[in-house]
Symmetry: C2
Subunit: 461 residues, 2 copies
Amino acid sequence: MSAQDFGILALEVYFPRYYISQSDLEVADGCPGKYVKGLEQESLGFCTIEEDISSICLTAVSNLVRRLNLDLLNVGFMEVGTETLIDKSKSTKTVLMQLFEACGNFDVEGIDVKNACFGGTAALFHALNWLESSAWDGLRSHHVQHKYDFYKPDMSSEYPTVDGHLSLQCYRDALIQCYRKYKRRVWTKNQLPVVVSAPLKKPGLSSLHNIDYLCFHSPFTRLVRKAYGWLVMDDMLALHPGSLFPDKEAATNGSVIDDSIAENDTNNLAATIDDQVRTAFTTIVNGVGADPAKQPTRDVDIRCMEATRSLFSVKVEHSLVFAKHVGNMYTASLYGCLASLLFSVPELELRNRRILMYSYGSGLAAAMFSLTVHASRPLVNVVGSPASPDRKQNPVFNRLFNQRTRLQVSEFEKILNERRSSHNAAPFKPPHNPGGLFPGSYFLTEVDESHRRTYEILPSQ
Amino acid sequence: MSAQDFGILALEVYFPRYYISQSDLEVADGCPGKYVKGLEQESLGFCTIEEDISSICLTAVSNLVRRLNLDLLNVGFMEVGTETLIDKSKSTKTVLMQLFEACGNFDVEGIDVKNACFGGTAALFHALNWLESSAWDGLRSHHVQHKYDFYKPDMSSEYPTVDGHLSLQCYRDALIQCYRKYKRRVWTKNQLPVVVSAPLKKPGLSSLHNIDYLCFHSPFTRLVRKAYGWLVMDDMLALHPGSLFPDKEAATNGSVIDDSIAENDTNNLAATIDDQVRTAFTTIVNGVGADPAKQPTRDVDIRCMEATRSLFSVKVEHSLVFAKHVGNMYTASLYGCLASLLFSVPELELRNRRILMYSYGSGLAAAMFSLTVHASRPLVNVVGSPASPDRKQNPVFNRLFNQRTRLQVSEFEKILNERRSSHNAAPFKPPHNPGGLFPGSYFLTEVDESHRRTYEILPSQ
């Protein structure tokens, strides 16, 4: 695709049905000439109580789809630019994914973008850049769907509304969907099967798209342990002849799997999987059956975690240092895992390694993609310290383990209450306590009566 | 740049200084084993009242810049992924632009992206796509800067906080900055001068990067009339020898202007400008002087609008039908202008035309770029109706002019009050009134006790 070959092919306009005349408003406001002549405005449309950002976007997109007879299976990117937020966390984009349910295409990149009236332009630029990039036929897989699992609809609160059970189920479903789509993409592009369950070997040319390390979005680290078990289970299910891609009927974006090749590969594939894991999982799979739609029971989860304990400690656990010791880092979680992995494993051991990344955001938007560690470029800038056989020397780990301040639960609750009572307050000056911040940190000094915030910076060390 | 040649070159990790032990929390919550064994979490970091999303990002970015000794003049893209919103409109990205003030690089693409914990991944993908696209050395110019001109810091309100005077000044400053950067880019890339003040002629090969039509972000249409005058004034200032790029000393991203070529071109350039406009502006410029830093007075603005009245009606006014009759469409404003232009000018007249687009979002992020209407592809899908000599036949215009409902100001105020009193309410069922919506519209039917929203759709006609 050449850089000249794309652009805006269609526009859909939505405006409210109700309006008032600006000259009527001049009369009501007692300012003749101010709006019609002074602002050169004729009339003013306004929304009813039944219209919100989601209803407006649903109408605009569904009208566009109908008018152009668009095949939603062919959509790879969709993004919403808005400054009319009804949720601080869940994107309007996920609400629009309801329109994609019927065709089953959830592999649609993009979420919401925000900066006042600039959001539309940012979304347009993102879409154009995406078209020019290799992403649209590359090795990223997405799963984006409308769910109310964790969201922040109460604008007056810092806290989310959470359906914990649903959220775990969404996390798992999106993980499996992303992994299968990722496998399908790799197969279509390189005719290589993907496995996460091979022991860590020297990297090199291979008949396999081997995953050396894995980083997961980590709300709590036991979920990641389970998640790794689910992926290994998916590798095992792929060994059952004919089931390498169990939901291939639902293959989207025109991917086609060559069954004969895939099935002939299963023996080779089986040989790549860690021996102990294969034995243990064969027992489990025989118990579970190969029904990929089935939610694993608590018992199956525990047996999977047991069976993958040693692989997990080599391929996943290095990524969890921040997750375990800081807690849920939310948007930063996955990248905290990447940093943790790079800080924990010696540089030479990392060279050429493939790292599988699973990103999950409730509401929901999820993606899977992989990174390869560069063959020669020193990691010193990435990790913030020279390579060292003892990564405990890493200055960030040193800060984490030796320079934080442990408080009592009662002090923690006091600070939470302070936050709660000052939330949305203006004017407001937080009491300054340098002991609560690392040297070199910016901190909030004031929220003025117009909610404008000012910051200062602590001296470095 | 090949698709293999980019990736993550550095990571910066921020975590709070304070933490509690998860086992302490188990004691306090009376649930032994729940967190350490059940969630596999060791400790929990938490923020003080002096930390917010802006302070955290300021610290992380400034630490990264210092550690890598980054030259901020070389940064072309920066984006923030977060679900911790302290403003519904202003992006955290604009707050970070304070760090760029010293070097004067405001030409940095990207704003904030949002969907729960997925924001970081979306920002990463946007950055990678940008790197692979032609945007990073293409013809878009940005001006992004930290300003509190219009923002939505009060999370409990649907309404913005506005400094109207500052916002108009920001709009104008960003417009001029974007236009000059755009001109510089075109000059660097194609050695062609840009003008917005030539009469509309047949498109064709030219020694000029001629702008046929212009679309502006339009809070009210008189501002667009002024804005066009400011750009024409900038064309005129460029005719003063040596001042084609008045602030070229501040040229960013390594653009270099060849003065000799630029100055030799001024005579040719002058000849391209509309005669009447040139005469009128010469008088005005002689009065103003060529000081581009000077804010135009109200009197100068009025004389500029007078002098450009006829050019404006040909090159700009067609874009303002929605802006004038719907009011400020905020994020959709610029694209409403594009639709209006395409709906208003006959298809044959539009072919090959270059449209200059100016997008502005308070806080602030602004960009200028151009579109060219395709030489042959029918516009029927773009505009929603077959080409017609009488564009008043356009179904969207028909809806705008003949199918809306005009209400009295008192009814308008009643609906505003309804919105205000139901804002953030849950559970809530809005009274249904199909008369307030166009056929085929989605509408909100319910917000349940957990703030989950459901929608239905009105039958089409």
